[in-house]
Symmetry: C2
Amino acid sequence: MPDLRTLSRYREQFEKELFNSVLPFWENHSPDKVNGGYFNCLDRDGRVFDTRKHIWLQGRQVWMFSTLYRTVEQRPEWLDIAVSGIRFLRDHAIRNDGRVWFSLTADGKPVQMQRKIFSECFYIMALAGFSRATGEGRYLIEAENLLQQVWEWSSDLSKVGRPVHEGQIPSSQLAIPMILLNLIEEVAGDTYQRYSPEIDDSIRRMLLHVHEDRQLVFETVAPDGSFIDNPDGRLLNPGHAIEAGWFLQHWAQRLDDPKLTETAVNMVRWSDKAGWDTESGGLFYFLDSGNFSPTSLEWSMKLWWPHCEAMYAYLLNYRLTRRKEDWLAFSRVTDYAFSHFPDPDYGEWFGYLDRNGTVTHRFKGGPYKGCFHVPRALLMCWNTLKELEELTADS
Amino acid sequence: MPDLRTLSRYREQFEKELFNSVLPFWENHSPDKVNGGYFNCLDRDGRVFDTRKHIWLQGRQVWMFSTLYRTVEQRPEWLDIAVSGIRFLRDHAIRNDGRVWFSLTADGKPVQMQRKIFSECFYIMALAGFSRATGEGRYLIEAENLLQQVWEWSSDLSKVGRPVHEGQIPSSQLAIPMILLNLIEEVAGDTYQRYSPEIDDSIRRMLLHVHEDRQLVFETVAPDGSFIDNPDGRLLNPGHAIEAGWFLQHWAQRLDDPKLTETAVNMVRWSDKAGWDTESGGLFYFLDSGNFSPTSLEWSMKLWWPHCEAMYAYLLNYRLTRRKEDWLAFSRVTDYAFSHFPDPDYGEWFGYLDRNGTVTHRFKGGPYKGCFHVPRALLMCWNTLKELEELTADS
């Protein structure tokens, strides 16, 4: 069990990384002063290597700076960044039918639309975070309305253009109920009772993916939760399952549900056990639960975001269980992450390592990496470590 | 310059690998005795790990066994394999409108349709190869009709469902004219004059991607051939450019065009120079010509197929130029390939290595790897080495 000095050492590490390295990188290099919004394809030193704007990352960065402004300090420069992003999004990212583009040119012309709902989800996340930070209720109303629409689309993806063919095996994706539950957390705030049916349904759908008998969390299952024996059904995505674990844990705490608390603790522990590379360290990106090789070329790589999610999920487990195994898991993944991903020379974290831990991609922001997983995890861990310090000092 | 003994040693290496290791693997493990067609997702030892059938690979395997039957030996078992595949394809893979599915269930129910034309292309390749092997003209007529349709689609991919948005930069993909030129080679055979306009147009479109001033072959250029300065436009795909080089070289020889011969030799040489990893050996999968990190996670991996294409393209260069540098390039890539990819225990080649040359995926067949690049390259190299032996013995 960590003593106060150990807790303080970790807390300072997170604090320094967040405020001296990660946030300055995005504050300095991402704002597009001409068009608004953010450049999100940034080379190691912050140079823009692609001016296109990816809406997942635009939405997430609005949420991030809104949340910093609301929960850490009301710095005007943080609000300015959030304002610039929310304006760009509302001016360019959404179509009249509620669909949200995947990517735009720097000045907001549409480039790509996905047959998925994630662009819409991160757009909602931006609106909700911004509204809660500024108190401007109209953004929350927009977020609620769009969430209603996305909720309907989510149960039938053919409504967003996903083709349906006779030979497809009906299936459920963990990503869908998981992001919806997270959005309800953002949109509903403390008045979540009005979303009770949606909350119950999202939790029920997520739990279909948790197979207690095998101690595994599957990314894709049949609609009744049963196992699908093909590469999609066998797929494990440990980082995603760990993130799903802490999303569920937040609701278990809010709903004061001890059974759900235990399940969420286990989802995180099992996914660490399945996903940790005992040879080279770090969490695998993908695994095949039947011990075949996953077909994705990048399966054995170590990505920044599963490690970010794991740091917070393991620490949250420890705060709830006070079990040594959870602290050791937290310190193991944190020590791995801090010794492999940060770039002390230019700030922010590298995103991609090979199995052995060597950096393979030098950029800090790309089509799928922006100002989100690193600062969110650092912020949540910093807050949780502060709590633990107080609890430890009091005891 | 290689002496006769060296040539014979290489020829025997290719011969043994093709007939004793690679072909037996597919003959033994891929045929679906119940439904016809082939299982193409095969684990290291040939075990089926996914029963779905991917049409690129079904079409290519029909072509491969048809070509073996036509050009090597009229073995009934090779014909049987080709017949089983062509029947499965014609019964299940094509829709009434001429579109061809990307993947099917084992018994032929549609699973996935791409908004691309490659499934159609490999379907045509199968028909043409089978017709030339068996003399059954009706398959060639089908191939010619579908090629006509694909030719029209190829100049406007919105016809196969590719969305067009205001912010997209108009561009040309090397893959399109390249596969069309290869198909004309397969469909037209010796009577290619009737395709003269299409041949000229495909060659013209391919040459837009060859930038002599920079000695680079770009995967994506503007419709007038000019450089696009974003990650798509900067992308180099050395294996693809090398394959395009030998496709063009076949036409340069057939059309007796010395300028095109020289260009094709250079495309291959430049792409080797740009793509060879001087640190760890092997050809990179992708590079960014502006020296940024490519955004694809697998950019630094070493894949089987670029090495297969390179073995043949470098050997073809040598047969035409008789320059030592081309022989050395051939022996370098061949020695790398044979010391990294083959699996003497179970046959066939592994498909995927990390940058350092360690096997990352143990399967022999997957959604994009089937019975094609390895046996095609081994067969073409074997034939070319036999020619060189004869020329050397005569001199």
